[in-house]
């Protein structure tokens, strides 16, 4: 029974990946952009899952690192030329990681509810810095004048100005993130994070210096969040301080929960679900946030396992055996 289940999961995953890769071959620019947007949210959600799902740290300020990655794409780019993708992408990721490291030094001194509140507060602080500061273009935001160039010397492997190429690049980043984090969760570091999530106090009693591991997780999560932000800036070509707003932090947290806390595949599924809901609801009414809010309340009250819990629920519902 377990074998079959695992095969079904693998088959579904490969099918989904094939669909994602094939999809951009259709010519619709709108949907290709939409797919890229979904995948960017998936990366963002997976990065938050490192904190919430792997380590048990509920951060309500994760938008800060998304925004820093996005702004870095603009601020690190030269004014009149396309940036070098292979420089500016790592640069943005590192910038976001450094910000996460510094902020982590402060916020990880707290636990539980305090932690939620201070992560929110620090994200607000970053919002203000970018909103009030002149360097960032203030509340109007800033444009990315050119999409970064993927050229390595004379060789140009792909062109990000072509929507299909951009979408495939984002898809590749998504798969890379997924694979890397899937290994991370099984690694010794990942097991330490799982222990911290389960019983941090006992981890300390067993001799683990838990602070440094939480800080490392926080930094990694921030860096990958910055990757998502960078891709966002490249996709849309425009960044505003609203990227730091707590609506972003709330939405990505919702995505993680929709997909199931701790499940990487769930985060990807959650991203699809969230964007789908956003598109559908905003098609119905200008006040689509009302519907979204209602969905959130319902999901929290009635669907605690998120989408990742749905297969188990279906199996239980049909009276199937476990496993």
């Amino acid at each position: 029974m377990n074998r079959v289940h695992a095969r079904v999961r693998l088959g579904a995953t490969l099918l989904a990946m094939a669909a994602i890769v094939a999809f951009p071959l259709t010519d619709s620019a709108f949907y290709v952009e939409l797919l890229a947007k979904v995948l960017i949210l998936a990366i963002f959600a997976m990065s938050l899952n490192v904190l919430v799902g792997f380590t048990g740290l509920v951060s309500f300020g994760h938008a800060a690192y998304f925004g820093i990655g996005a702004y870095a794409a603009v601020l690190l780019a030269p004014k009149y030329d396309p940036a070098n993708l292979w420089l500016v992408l790592p640069g943005s990721v590192i910038a976001a990681g450094i910000a996460a490291f510094v902020i982590g030094l402060f916020v990880l001194r707290t636990r539980g509810v305090y932690f939620i509140m201070v992560t929110l507060a620090f994200a607000q602080m970053v919002y203000y810095i970018f909103h009030d500061g002149a360097f960032s273009g203030g509340s109007d935001g800033s444009y990315l004048n050119f999409k970064p160039s993927a050229a390595v010397g004379a060789f140009v492997p792909f062109d990000l100005t072509v929507p299909r190429h951009l979408c495939w690049f984002v898809a590749a980043m998504t798969i890379l993130t997924y694979v890397a984090l899937a290994r991370l969760v099984r690694s010794p570091f990942g097991r330490i994070l799982a222990g911290i999530r389960s019983n941090e106090q006992r981890m300390r009693a067993l001799g683990f210096a838990t602070f440094r591991y939480k800080l490392a997780a926080f930094t990694v999560a921030g860096a990958i969040g910055g990757l998502a932000g960078f891709l966002y800036a490249v996709l849309f070509g425009f960044v505003t301080p609203e990227l730091f707003a707590w609506h972003q932090s709330g939405n990505v947290l919702l995505t993680v929960i929709l997909g199931g806390v701790g499940s990487l595949a769930g985060s990807v599924a959650g991203a699809f679900a969230f964007v789908a809901m956003e598109e559908v609801f905003s098609g119905w009414t200008r006040h689509w946030q009302l519907v979204m809010g209602g969905v959130i309340v319902v999901v929290v009250l009635f669907l605690p396992g998120g989408l990742a819990g749905v297969p188990a629920r279906i199996r239980r519902g049909f009276g199937a055996e476990r496993g």
């Binding site: 690694s187 570091f189 097991r191 389960s198 019983n199 009693a205």
Partner: protein, 249 residues
């Protein structure tokens, strides 16, 4: 002469104006089981917390093999060889029994910056976990989810986890709590088996077990040491009997 491992000198801990521990001193030596007795509220849990680092003392000193560890945080003390089991079972309920011990064993070689290796492949860590489980008598239950264990088995797991950290000083906080007669007997045998290699502090209410296994006994009342000595001495002491108000000794 037994090797002295842990010395606590005049440990004091106050909460506001209330002294939970006042000038409590104890010496733990390898090959010795030192039992800590006292009525409820005597400050035994506080004392173990002070030794393990769960609580910081308001006064006094703790040395481990001569090294002053009073200011060291809990995880550093564990790395130096102090292990502690908890009165209220404090495991990782969602993990299997084996994973509980494996994680405990991993603490000695965290390899935390290996992000692409598979933790389960680490052979030395696995070996230490298996050995600890075997010593604690839990080898057959290795694959059970620890939340599904019986109460007695969970108490054994508590001990197994401490053993997996290769601790030399064992602080056992009521390991027999809530156990039936058979399980208690097995736990007592385990403590006896562990005695030659470790310095053991045993906080317990089960008097039969204590007198069967203890080499030295310290009795605490209201935060202070009432009397300390050999089991015979304690058994004969009127002060101790009064403190327990007729409890069979």
């Amino acid at each position: 002469m037994a090797e002295t491992l842990l010395v606590a000198e005049r440990l004091t801990r106050s909460f506001g104006g209330l002294f939970a521990n006042r000038d409590v001193s104890i010496t733990l030596a390898r090959g010795e089981v030192h039992a800590l007795l006292g009525p409820n509220g005597a400050g035994k849990s506080t004392f173990i917390n002070l030794l393990s680092g769960d609580l910081a003392p308001s006064g006094g000193r703790i040395t481990l093999r001569g090294l002053d560890i009073t200011a060291l945080p809990q995880h550093r003390r564990s790395q130096l060889g102090i292990g502690r089991s908890y009165q209220r079972t404090n495991i990782f309920p969602a993990f299997t029994v084996f994973e509980n011990c494996r994680l405990a064993a991993q603490s000695r070689q965290p390899r935390a910056w290996h992000w692409f290796a598979d933790a389960r492949q680490d052979a030395p860590v696995r070996a230490r976990a298996e050995a600890a489980l075997a010593r604690a008598g839990l080898a057959e239950r290795a694959n059970a989810v620890s939340a599904t264990l019986s109460h007695g088995e969970q108490r054994q797991l508590e001990i197994a986890m401490v053993l997996a950290t290769s601790a030399e000083v064992l602080l056992l906080d009521e390991p027999l709590a809530g156990m039936g007669a058979d399980e208690s007997a097995r736990m007592v045998e385990l403590v006896k088996r562990l005695r030659p290699d470790h310095a053991i502090l045993l906080v317990e209410h089960d008097m039969d077990a204590v007198f069967e296994v203890a080499d030295r006994i310290t009795v605490m009342v209201e935060g202070s040491v009432l009397e300390s000595g050999s089991p015979q001495q304690i058994r004969a002491s009127t002060a101790v009997r009064d403190a327990y108000l007729g409890e069979p000794v």
